[in-house]
Protein backbone atom coordinates (compact mmCIF):
# COMPACT_ATOMS: atom_id res chain seq x y z
CA UNK A 1 0.00 0.00 0.00
CA UNK A 2 2.85 2.34 0.89
CA UNK A 3 4.53 1.73 -2.48
CA UNK A 4 1.40 2.61 -4.40
CA UNK A 5 1.06 5.81 -2.39
CA UNK A 6 4.66 6.68 -3.13
CA UNK A 7 4.09 6.07 -6.82
CA UNK A 8 0.97 8.23 -6.74
CA UNK A 9 2.91 10.98 -5.00
CA UNK A 10 5.72 10.89 -7.55
CA UNK A 11 3.30 11.01 -10.46
CA UNK A 12 1.46 13.91 -8.89
CA UNK A 13 4.63 15.80 -8.02
CA UNK A 14 6.11 15.40 -11.50
CA UNK A 15 2.94 16.76 -13.04
CA UNK A 16 2.43 19.62 -10.62
CA UNK A 17 5.82 20.89 -9.47
CA UNK A 18 6.32 23.32 -12.33
CA UNK A 19 3.01 25.03 -11.66
CA UNK A 20 3.62 25.12 -7.92
CA UNK A 21 7.01 26.70 -8.48
CA UNK A 22 5.51 29.39 -10.69
CA UNK A 23 3.01 30.27 -7.98
CA UNK A 24 5.72 30.15 -5.36
CA UNK A 25 8.01 32.44 -7.31
CA UNK A 26 5.28 35.04 -7.69
CA UNK A 27 4.55 34.80 -3.98
CA UNK A 28 8.13 34.85 -2.73
CA UNK A 29 9.91 36.81 -5.45
CA UNK A 30 13.01 34.71 -4.94
CA UNK A 31 13.76 31.51 -6.75
CA UNK A 32 15.56 30.07 -3.76
CA UNK A 33 12.68 30.83 -1.42
CA UNK A 34 10.21 29.58 -4.00
CA UNK A 35 12.03 26.25 -4.26
CA UNK A 36 12.04 25.94 -0.47
CA UNK A 37 8.33 26.68 -0.36
CA UNK A 38 7.56 24.10 -3.03
CA UNK A 39 9.74 21.53 -1.27
CA UNK A 40 7.91 22.07 1.99
CA UNK A 41 4.59 21.85 0.17
CA UNK A 42 5.52 18.59 -1.54
CA UNK A 43 6.73 17.12 1.74
CA UNK A 44 3.37 17.95 3.33
CA UNK A 45 1.57 16.37 0.39
CA UNK A 46 3.77 13.27 0.72
CA UNK A 47 2.98 12.95 4.43
CA UNK A 48 -0.73 13.50 3.79
CA UNK A 49 -0.79 10.88 1.05
CA UNK A 50 0.91 8.39 3.37
CA UNK A 51 -1.35 8.99 6.36
CA UNK A 52 -2.70 5.69 7.53
CA UNK A 53 -6.45 5.40 7.14
CA UNK A 54 -6.83 8.91 5.79
CA UNK A 55 -9.20 8.97 2.85
CA UNK A 56 -7.57 9.49 -0.52
CA UNK A 57 -7.27 13.10 -1.58
CA UNK A 58 -10.10 14.00 -3.94
CA UNK A 59 -8.09 16.77 -5.52
CA UNK A 60 -4.38 16.62 -4.76
CA UNK A 61 -3.68 19.66 -6.93
CA UNK A 62 -6.07 21.80 -4.92
CA UNK A 63 -4.69 20.40 -1.67
CA UNK A 64 -1.16 21.28 -2.76
CA UNK A 65 -2.14 24.77 -3.87
CA UNK A 66 -3.89 25.41 -0.57
CA UNK A 67 -0.93 24.04 1.36
CA UNK A 68 1.53 26.15 -0.60
CA UNK A 69 -0.45 29.34 -0.10
CA UNK A 70 -1.09 28.80 3.58
CA UNK A 71 2.52 27.82 4.21
CA UNK A 72 3.65 30.99 2.48
CA UNK A 73 1.26 33.30 4.37
CA UNK A 74 2.08 31.60 7.65
CA UNK A 75 5.82 31.86 7.12
CA UNK A 76 5.55 35.55 6.25
CA UNK A 77 3.54 36.19 9.38
CA UNK A 78 6.26 34.61 11.46
CA UNK A 79 9.03 36.68 9.99
CA UNK A 80 7.25 39.83 8.86
CA UNK A 81 9.73 42.03 10.70
CA UNK A 82 12.67 40.61 8.80
CA UNK A 83 11.17 40.31 5.35
CA UNK A 84 13.60 41.09 2.59
CA UNK A 85 12.88 43.12 -0.53
CA UNK A 86 11.39 41.22 -3.40
CA UNK A 87 14.00 41.41 -6.10
CA UNK A 88 15.46 38.08 -7.15
CA UNK A 89 14.16 37.60 -10.66
CA UNK A 90 14.60 34.51 -12.76
CA UNK A 91 17.45 34.64 -15.22
CA UNK A 92 16.57 34.92 -18.85
CA UNK A 93 12.91 35.36 -18.20
CA UNK A 94 10.59 36.42 -20.99
CA UNK A 95 13.22 36.33 -23.67
CA UNK A 96 15.53 39.17 -24.57
CA UNK A 97 13.10 41.93 -25.26
CA UNK A 98 13.81 45.01 -23.20
CA UNK A 99 10.14 45.81 -22.85
CA UNK A 100 9.38 42.38 -21.51
CA UNK A 101 12.24 42.55 -19.07
CA UNK A 102 11.15 45.97 -17.87
CA UNK A 103 7.62 44.74 -17.44
CA UNK A 104 8.88 41.78 -15.44
CA UNK A 105 10.86 44.06 -13.14
CA UNK A 106 7.84 46.27 -12.70
CA UNK A 107 5.73 43.28 -11.86
CA UNK A 108 8.23 42.08 -9.29
CA UNK A 109 8.51 45.51 -7.71
CA UNK A 110 4.78 45.97 -7.60
CA UNK A 111 4.19 42.55 -6.08
CA UNK A 112 6.92 43.24 -3.53
CA UNK A 113 4.93 46.16 -2.21
CA UNK A 114 1.79 44.12 -1.70
CA UNK A 115 1.21 42.34 1.59
CA UNK A 116 1.73 38.56 1.60
CA UNK A 117 -2.02 38.00 1.75
CA UNK A 118 -2.65 40.42 -1.13
CA UNK A 119 0.04 38.64 -3.14
CA UNK A 120 -1.65 35.34 -2.42
CA UNK A 121 -5.01 36.75 -3.51
CA UNK A 122 -3.54 38.00 -6.79
CA UNK A 123 -1.72 34.77 -7.55
CA UNK A 124 -4.69 32.57 -6.74
CA UNK A 125 -7.13 34.76 -8.63
CA UNK A 126 -5.08 35.57 -11.72
CA UNK A 127 -2.46 32.84 -12.10
CA UNK A 128 -4.48 29.92 -10.79
CA UNK A 129 -7.76 31.36 -12.04
CA UNK A 130 -9.65 30.45 -8.89
CA UNK A 131 -13.02 31.93 -8.03
CA UNK A 132 -13.46 34.49 -5.28
CA UNK A 133 -15.13 31.86 -3.12
CA UNK A 134 -12.30 29.38 -3.66
CA UNK A 135 -9.68 31.97 -2.75
CA UNK A 136 -11.70 32.94 0.31
CA UNK A 137 -11.75 29.31 1.42
CA UNK A 138 -8.02 28.87 1.01
CA UNK A 139 -7.05 32.05 2.82
CA UNK A 140 -9.75 31.99 5.46
CA UNK A 141 -11.18 35.32 4.32
CA UNK A 142 -14.69 36.34 3.43
CA UNK A 143 -15.52 36.59 -0.28
CA UNK A 144 -16.00 40.32 0.20
CA UNK A 145 -12.55 40.67 1.69
CA UNK A 146 -11.06 38.78 -1.24
CA UNK A 147 -12.82 41.09 -3.72
CA UNK A 148 -11.65 44.17 -1.85
CA UNK A 149 -8.08 42.96 -1.52
CA UNK A 150 -7.98 41.94 -5.15
CA UNK A 151 -9.30 45.26 -6.44
CA UNK A 152 -7.12 47.29 -4.10
CA UNK A 153 -3.95 45.37 -4.88
CA UNK A 154 -4.56 45.49 -8.60
CA UNK A 155 -5.27 49.22 -8.49
CA UNK A 156 -2.09 49.78 -6.52
CA UNK A 157 -0.10 47.85 -9.07
CA UNK A 158 -1.62 49.83 -11.90
CA UNK A 159 -0.79 53.07 -10.16
CA UNK A 160 2.70 52.01 -9.39
CA UNK A 161 4.12 50.82 -12.64
CA UNK A 162 2.06 48.39 -14.60
CA UNK A 163 0.34 50.83 -16.85
Amino acid sequence: MSESRTTAFEEFARARTAHLLRSAWLLCGSRTEAEDLVQETLVKVYVRMHRVLAPALDNPAAYAQTTLTRTFVSSRRKRSSTEQPYADLPDGALGDHADAAALRVSLADALAEASPTDRAVLVLRYLDDLSVDEVAGILGLSPGAVRNRSMRALARMRERSLR
Binding site: W25, V52, A100
Partner: protein, 268 residues
Protein backbone atom coordinates in the same frame (compact mmCIF):
# COMPACT_ATOMS: atom_id res chain seq x y z
CA UNK B 1 -4.38 47.12 -17.71
CA UNK B 2 -7.37 44.82 -17.67
CA UNK B 3 -7.79 41.81 -15.47
CA UNK B 4 -7.09 39.33 -18.24
CA UNK B 5 -3.99 41.25 -19.25
CA UNK B 6 -2.73 41.05 -15.69
CA UNK B 7 -3.40 37.33 -15.63
CA UNK B 8 -1.46 36.95 -18.85
CA UNK B 9 1.40 39.00 -17.44
CA UNK B 10 1.61 36.82 -14.34
CA UNK B 11 1.52 33.70 -16.46
CA UNK B 12 4.27 34.85 -18.82
CA UNK B 13 6.53 36.00 -16.01
CA UNK B 14 6.05 32.85 -13.98
CA UNK B 15 6.63 30.53 -16.92
CA UNK B 16 10.16 31.83 -17.20
CA UNK B 17 11.17 30.27 -13.90
CA UNK B 18 13.46 27.30 -14.60
CA UNK B 19 12.46 24.12 -12.79
CA UNK B 20 14.43 21.00 -11.91
CA UNK B 21 11.36 18.83 -11.54
CA UNK B 22 13.11 15.47 -11.15
CA UNK B 23 15.44 16.82 -8.49
CA UNK B 24 12.67 18.48 -6.52
CA UNK B 25 10.44 15.40 -6.61
CA UNK B 26 13.25 13.14 -5.46
CA UNK B 27 14.24 15.48 -2.66
CA UNK B 28 10.64 15.99 -1.54
CA UNK B 29 10.07 12.22 -1.42
CA UNK B 30 13.21 11.72 0.66
CA UNK B 31 12.26 14.52 3.05
CA UNK B 32 8.71 13.16 3.29
CA UNK B 33 9.98 9.73 4.26
CA UNK B 34 12.30 11.25 6.87
CA UNK B 35 9.43 13.30 8.30
CA UNK B 36 7.21 10.25 8.55
CA UNK B 37 9.97 8.32 10.30
CA UNK B 38 10.57 11.19 12.73
CA UNK B 39 6.88 11.37 13.56
CA UNK B 40 6.72 7.67 14.23
CA UNK B 41 9.86 7.82 16.31
CA UNK B 42 8.41 10.72 18.27
CA UNK B 43 5.31 8.69 18.97
CA UNK B 44 7.38 5.81 20.27
CA UNK B 45 9.39 8.18 22.45
CA UNK B 46 6.17 9.65 23.75
CA UNK B 47 5.17 6.18 24.81
CA UNK B 48 8.29 5.75 26.86
CA UNK B 49 8.81 9.25 28.09
CA UNK B 50 5.54 10.76 29.13
CA UNK B 51 6.01 12.43 32.46
CA UNK B 52 2.57 13.85 33.12
CA UNK B 53 1.06 10.45 32.98
CA UNK B 54 -1.52 8.54 34.81
CA UNK B 55 -2.76 5.02 34.98
CA UNK B 56 -4.65 3.57 32.05
CA UNK B 57 -6.62 0.65 33.37
CA UNK B 58 -8.86 0.08 30.40
CA UNK B 59 -6.32 -1.10 27.92
CA UNK B 60 -4.33 -3.53 29.97
CA UNK B 61 -5.59 -7.04 30.49
CA UNK B 62 -5.34 -8.65 33.85
CA UNK B 63 -2.44 -10.89 33.05
CA UNK B 64 -2.19 -12.01 36.67
CA UNK B 65 -5.71 -13.37 36.96
CA UNK B 66 -6.43 -17.07 37.05
CA UNK B 67 -7.92 -17.03 33.60
CA UNK B 68 -6.98 -14.83 30.70
CA UNK B 69 -9.25 -11.83 30.85
CA UNK B 70 -10.09 -10.06 27.64
CA UNK B 71 -9.35 -6.41 27.53
CA UNK B 72 -12.91 -5.39 26.99
CA UNK B 73 -14.02 -7.08 30.16
CA UNK B 74 -11.82 -4.92 32.35
CA UNK B 75 -13.18 -2.17 34.50
CA UNK B 76 -11.98 0.99 32.83
CA UNK B 77 -11.12 2.78 36.02
CA UNK B 78 -11.92 6.12 34.46
CA UNK B 79 -13.85 8.55 36.53
CA UNK B 80 -16.63 10.94 35.86
CA UNK B 81 -14.78 14.03 36.96
CA UNK B 82 -15.73 17.24 35.21
CA UNK B 83 -13.78 17.81 32.08
CA UNK B 84 -12.59 21.31 32.96
CA UNK B 85 -11.36 23.84 30.47
CA UNK B 86 -11.18 22.66 26.90
CA UNK B 87 -7.81 22.35 25.25
CA UNK B 88 -7.07 24.67 22.34
CA UNK B 89 -8.29 23.16 19.09
CA UNK B 90 -10.37 20.53 20.80
CA UNK B 91 -13.67 19.82 19.12
CA UNK B 92 -16.65 19.75 21.46
CA UNK B 93 -17.68 16.14 21.89
CA UNK B 94 -21.28 15.04 22.45
CA UNK B 95 -22.12 13.39 25.75
CA UNK B 96 -23.83 10.52 23.95
CA UNK B 97 -23.14 8.93 20.56
CA UNK B 98 -24.23 11.18 17.73
CA UNK B 99 -24.08 8.43 15.11
CA UNK B 100 -23.99 4.65 14.91
CA UNK B 101 -20.92 2.50 14.39
CA UNK B 102 -21.16 1.65 10.73
CA UNK B 103 -18.06 -0.35 9.96
CA UNK B 104 -18.60 -4.04 9.29
CA UNK B 105 -16.96 -6.01 12.10
CA UNK B 106 -15.58 -8.51 9.60
CA UNK B 107 -13.72 -5.69 7.86
CA UNK B 108 -11.93 -4.50 10.98
CA UNK B 109 -9.03 -7.02 11.06
CA UNK B 110 -8.20 -6.16 7.45
CA UNK B 111 -8.42 -2.44 8.16
CA UNK B 112 -6.17 -2.57 11.20
CA UNK B 113 -3.86 -5.15 9.64
CA UNK B 114 -3.25 -3.08 6.54
CA UNK B 115 -2.66 0.02 8.61
CA UNK B 116 -0.11 -1.85 10.72
CA UNK B 117 1.56 -3.55 7.76
CA UNK B 118 0.65 -7.03 9.00
CA UNK B 119 1.34 -9.93 6.66
CA UNK B 120 -0.97 -12.42 8.39
CA UNK B 121 -4.41 -11.12 9.21
CA UNK B 122 -6.44 -13.51 11.32
CA UNK B 123 -10.21 -13.80 11.61
CA UNK B 124 -12.28 -12.34 14.42
CA UNK B 125 -12.04 -14.41 17.59
CA UNK B 126 -15.32 -15.46 19.11
CA UNK B 127 -14.61 -17.74 22.01
CA UNK B 128 -13.84 -17.31 25.68
CA UNK B 129 -12.18 -15.21 26.82
CA UNK B 130 -12.52 -13.13 23.67
CA UNK B 131 -16.14 -12.08 23.16
CA UNK B 132 -17.28 -10.68 19.84
CA UNK B 133 -19.75 -7.84 20.16
CA UNK B 134 -20.89 -5.86 17.11
CA UNK B 135 -23.85 -3.66 17.90
CA UNK B 136 -25.07 -0.29 16.70
CA UNK B 137 -23.35 1.59 19.52
CA UNK B 138 -20.90 -0.95 20.86
CA UNK B 139 -18.17 -3.01 19.28
CA UNK B 140 -15.64 -5.31 20.94
CA UNK B 141 -13.40 -7.29 18.64
CA UNK B 142 -10.34 -9.45 19.14
CA UNK B 143 -8.17 -10.83 16.38
CA UNK B 144 -4.57 -11.67 15.66
CA UNK B 145 -2.19 -9.84 13.36
CA UNK B 146 1.00 -11.71 12.55
CA UNK B 147 0.00 -13.94 15.43
CA UNK B 148 -0.21 -11.14 18.00
CA UNK B 149 -3.42 -10.28 19.84
CA UNK B 150 -5.15 -7.07 18.82
CA UNK B 151 -8.28 -5.62 20.38
CA UNK B 152 -10.66 -2.92 19.20
CA UNK B 153 -13.26 -1.53 21.58
CA UNK B 154 -15.74 1.19 20.67
CA UNK B 155 -18.22 2.09 23.37
CA UNK B 156 -20.28 5.12 24.36
CA UNK B 157 -18.05 7.31 26.45
CA UNK B 158 -20.86 7.94 28.99
CA UNK B 159 -19.39 9.06 32.27
CA UNK B 160 -15.84 8.53 31.06
CA UNK B 161 -16.32 11.47 28.80
CA UNK B 162 -12.84 12.86 28.46
CA UNK B 163 -9.20 11.98 28.74
CA UNK B 164 -8.55 14.88 31.07
CA UNK B 165 -11.16 13.69 33.52
CA UNK B 166 -9.65 10.25 33.40
CA UNK B 167 -6.19 11.67 33.92
CA UNK B 168 -7.12 13.62 37.02
CA UNK B 169 -8.87 10.70 38.60
CA UNK B 170 -6.09 8.33 37.73
CA UNK B 171 -3.52 10.69 39.19
CA UNK B 172 -5.29 10.45 42.51
CA UNK B 173 -5.40 6.68 42.23
CA UNK B 174 -1.71 6.63 41.42
CA UNK B 175 -0.87 8.62 44.53
CA UNK B 176 -2.80 6.15 46.62
CA UNK B 177 -1.06 3.22 44.98
CA UNK B 178 2.34 4.77 45.42
CA UNK B 179 1.63 5.36 49.07
CA UNK B 180 0.56 1.77 49.44
CA UNK B 181 3.64 0.53 47.62
CA UNK B 182 1.66 -0.99 44.79
CA UNK B 183 3.45 -1.71 41.52
CA UNK B 184 3.40 0.92 38.82
CA UNK B 185 0.85 0.59 36.05
CA UNK B 186 1.12 1.48 32.40
CA UNK B 187 0.60 5.14 31.74
CA UNK B 188 -1.77 7.42 29.91
CA UNK B 189 -1.10 10.85 28.51
CA UNK B 190 -3.61 13.18 26.96
CA UNK B 191 -3.25 15.27 23.86
CA UNK B 192 -5.38 16.66 21.07
CA UNK B 193 -4.98 15.25 17.57
CA UNK B 194 -6.92 16.94 14.77
CA UNK B 195 -9.36 18.30 17.33
CA UNK B 196 -9.94 14.89 18.90
CA UNK B 197 -8.80 14.11 22.41
CA UNK B 198 -6.51 11.12 22.50
CA UNK B 199 -5.84 9.40 25.74
CA UNK B 200 -2.69 8.31 24.37
CA UNK B 201 -0.32 5.72 23.86
CA UNK B 202 0.72 3.48 26.60
CA UNK B 203 3.32 0.82 26.66
CA UNK B 204 3.22 -1.47 29.58
CA UNK B 205 5.34 -4.36 30.59
CA UNK B 206 3.14 -6.97 32.11
CA UNK B 207 4.95 -10.14 32.97
CA UNK B 208 8.47 -10.73 31.79
CA UNK B 209 8.17 -10.27 28.04
CA UNK B 210 4.70 -8.94 27.39
CA UNK B 211 4.41 -5.48 25.88
CA UNK B 212 1.15 -3.61 25.37
CA UNK B 213 0.56 -0.57 23.22
CA UNK B 214 -2.73 1.24 23.12
CA UNK B 215 -4.49 4.46 22.31
CA UNK B 216 -7.90 5.80 23.16
CA UNK B 217 -9.80 8.58 21.41
CA UNK B 218 -12.95 10.38 22.44
CA UNK B 219 -14.92 10.96 19.26
CA UNK B 220 -18.62 11.31 18.36
CA UNK B 221 -19.65 10.43 21.91
CA UNK B 222 -17.66 7.19 21.85
CA UNK B 223 -14.43 6.03 23.33
CA UNK B 224 -12.43 4.23 20.67
CA UNK B 225 -9.67 1.95 21.97
CA UNK B 226 -7.17 -0.02 19.97
CA UNK B 227 -4.81 -2.28 21.85
CA UNK B 228 -1.89 -4.22 20.44
CA UNK B 229 0.25 -6.84 22.15
CA UNK B 230 3.48 -8.60 21.30
CA UNK B 231 2.03 -11.95 22.33
CA UNK B 232 -0.75 -14.19 21.07
CA UNK B 233 -2.62 -14.34 24.37
CA UNK B 234 -2.40 -13.30 27.98
CA UNK B 235 -1.73 -16.78 29.23
CA UNK B 236 -0.78 -20.16 27.90
CA UNK B 237 -3.57 -22.72 27.53
CA UNK B 238 -2.43 -24.39 30.75
CA UNK B 239 -2.82 -21.12 32.64
CA UNK B 240 0.86 -20.40 33.00
CA UNK B 241 1.95 -16.85 32.43
CA UNK B 242 5.25 -17.30 30.65
CA UNK B 243 3.71 -16.63 27.26
CA UNK B 244 6.35 -16.34 24.58
CA UNK B 245 6.78 -12.94 23.00
CA UNK B 246 6.41 -13.07 19.23
CA UNK B 247 7.96 -9.65 18.76
CA UNK B 248 9.98 -7.20 20.82
CA UNK B 249 7.18 -4.63 20.68
CA UNK B 250 3.47 -4.69 19.84
CA UNK B 251 2.82 -4.88 16.11
CA UNK B 252 0.71 -1.73 15.92
CA UNK B 253 2.97 1.16 16.82
CA UNK B 254 2.09 4.50 18.37
CA UNK B 255 1.61 6.53 15.22
CA UNK B 256 -0.67 3.94 13.66
CA UNK B 257 -2.60 3.51 16.91
CA UNK B 258 -3.39 7.22 16.96
CA UNK B 259 -4.37 7.16 13.29
CA UNK B 260 -6.69 4.26 14.00
CA UNK B 261 -8.47 5.60 17.05
CA UNK B 262 -8.99 9.04 15.53
CA UNK B 263 -10.16 7.63 12.21
CA UNK B 264 -13.64 8.27 10.87
CA UNK B 265 -13.56 4.83 9.27
CA UNK B 266 -15.54 3.40 12.20
CA UNK B 267 -18.42 5.76 11.56
CA UNK B 268 -18.15 6.58 7.87
Amino acid sequence: MKDDEFADLLDRAARAVPVDIAGMVTEAGARGRRRLRRRRAASVLAVAGVTAAVTLGVTVPDWGADTPTPVAEQSPGFASAPSGAASPGLHQQPATPDRPITIDAEAVPQLVGEAAGATEIGPLLNEAPYPLIAEENRMILHFRLDGTLTTVVIEPSQDRASCRAASRESSAEKRLRTTAGAPAQPRLSCRVVDGIEVGAITTGTVGSEVRVGSATAWNHGYRVDVVSYNVAAGKNPDGSEDVPALRDQPLVDGDVLVELVTSEAWFA
